[in-house]
Amino acid sequence: MATQQSRALGRIAVAPSVIALFLWMIVPLAMTIWFSFLRYNLLDPNYACSLLTPGQLFDEANRCFAGTSNYYYFLTDPAFFKAMTNSLLIVGSVLLISIVGGTLFALLLDQAIVGRNIVRLMVIAPFFVMPTVAALVWQNMLMDPIIGFISWITKSLGMGAIDWFTHYPKTAVVIIVAWQWFPFATLILLTALQSFDEEQKEAAQMDGTPPLSFFWYMILPHLARPITVVVLIETIFLLNVFAEIYVTGTGGRAGNLPYLVYQYGLLSNDIGGASAGGIVAVVLANIVAFFLMRMIGKNLEG
């Protein structure tokens, strides 16, 4: 009785969020799919191409339908392959930095150090910074080859100025993005470490277990789940990194898929092409997500 009642109630409780998310997903998605088959230039809209005037819509003379040509041009664009590899590169490198850096930092912060609270404050601060602001600050005040702080340091060390955005645009973008996301990993991993059994730790120390093997056999397995969580959440956000590329003007060489879609849509005003690009990006993102789930999903069970 009670179970049946609560199951029905459960459905009702889930319904609002599912319906809202479904609408939020399906309406723009349907419109985007529709646009992706049209010739639709924002600055040259063809008002005949409206669902309300089917006669004109299907009239060949109006050139409304683009067929699959928007997809064809997007997929054969040399920039597409580059954007795809850049997307993967950004996600992959930032994840790697976050997890390795985050684990090391979490281990460090888990030690008895003086002023731990202040240190923790300083470390998590970048996570609170708006991506636009982070990009502007890094670009203008730190990485600028002439008046940037980093170039002042490298010049003082006699290495000459590093011209980040000219020679290492991808590295520069990865650094900026990693700076914002690695604190998030640190935070979660630190929380996990602090829940680690103190007694086990002490026991290991008593036994004289070497720190490395203690880390490998005891701590790392304990961190498997939090690492999975970090990978999952960060991937979702990292696939759509945009502000850091847009603001620093590195779209030409470090541009990822969202940036390419932006270039189609808002620079070329080619809404048809941008919609096709958006659909391609969604499909690819879901493929990535699917494999990600398969690979790490078991860590989330139980």
Binding site: A13, L21, M25, L121, V137, N140, S195, G278, V282, A289
Partner: protein
């Protein structure tokens, strides 16, 4: 002897930790320092650390040019509003997924997360048209709805993981006592879930505060939050580092202060069910 070693160890770690933390914090510190410099000092090489003419001039200029408080107020309303409404529908649904899971609950959660994967710019024109036709452009209501939908999947997931950690024995005990489902939710679950809810709120306020694509695209003036305020300072003509720093400091200060005050709460809650 042992004490000496461990004390040396402690100081070594302390030194390393402080050094690295300082490095990580430096960009923010540098921005704050630069905001108190004159434009000339801001661009000076070698950089001036503390010995420059401290000035509040930049803040004055920025405030005069764009009314900071209007933007900040909108940011506060959007961040709190979107989090509030998202919680309103997320709590029941996370609760039911955690305590009455179906076969498809995991898939449902993953589907929810996958709605975040569309590049926003791909959906810009559709959403802009919808907003236009419903008169939602540049309204706080419209933007609250967008931010709420953007963060809803994360909110549901976070809450779901907390709720799942609440031992079911407690629930059974409550049911034995004849508590209704409603009472169960209000008197038993919610108090236990409060730390989780609190850190969910924090995380989502941060995410909503920092969202820049949709807030820039769908607002002009009445509902415009801080990302728009910043957009009028990026690369104007002339020397601009000090003014940009002042504007940046103003844009991140509220959330930074909140984050710092609440960091204990955030740390305690940010587990996503990852800690057993």
């Amino acid at each position: 002897m042992a004490r000496a070693v461990s004390s040396r160890r402690k100081w070594t770690f302390t030194l390393i930790a402080w050094f690295l933390a300082f490095l990580i914090f430096f960009p923010i510190l540098w921005t704050i320092l630069t905001s108190f410099k004159t434009e000339g000092d801001a661009a000076a090489i070698p950089p001036r650390f503390l010995f420059f003419d401290w000035t509040f001039e930049n803040y004055g200029v920025v405030q005069e040019r764009s009314n900071y408080f209007k933007f900040a107020m909108n940011s506060v309303i959007l961040a709190l509003g979107s989090t509030f409404f998202a919680l309103l529908i997320a709590i029941p649904s996370a609760w039911s997924m955690a305590f009455a899971p179906g076969k498809r609950t995991k898939d449902l959660l993953m589907w929810m997360l996958s709605t975040k994967m569309m590049p926003p710019v791909g959906a810009l024109i559709p959403l802009y048209l919808i907003f236009r036709d419903f008169g939602l452009l540049d309204t706080r209501g419209g933007l609250i709805a967008v931010l709420m939908m953007l963060n809803l999947p994360i909110i549901i997931w976070m809450l779901y993981t907390y709720f799942k950690e609440i031992p079911s024995e407690i629930l059974e005990a409550a049911r034995m006592d004849g508590a209704s489902v409603w009472k169960e939710l209000v008197y038993v679950l919610t108090p236990m879930a409060i730390p989780g809810i609190a850190s969910t709120i924090l995380l989502n306020v941060i995410l909503a505060w920092n969202e820049a694509f949709w807030t820039l695209a769908l607002t002009t003036k009445d509902a415009a939050p801080l990302p728009q305020f910043i957009a009028s300072y990026s690369s104007p003509e002339g020397l601009f580092w000090a003014k940009l720093s002042a504007a940046s400091t103003m844009a991140i200060a509220p959330i930074l202060v909140l984050g710092w005050f609440a960091q204990k709460q955030l740390v305690r809650g940010l587990t996503f069910g990852a800690v057993k």
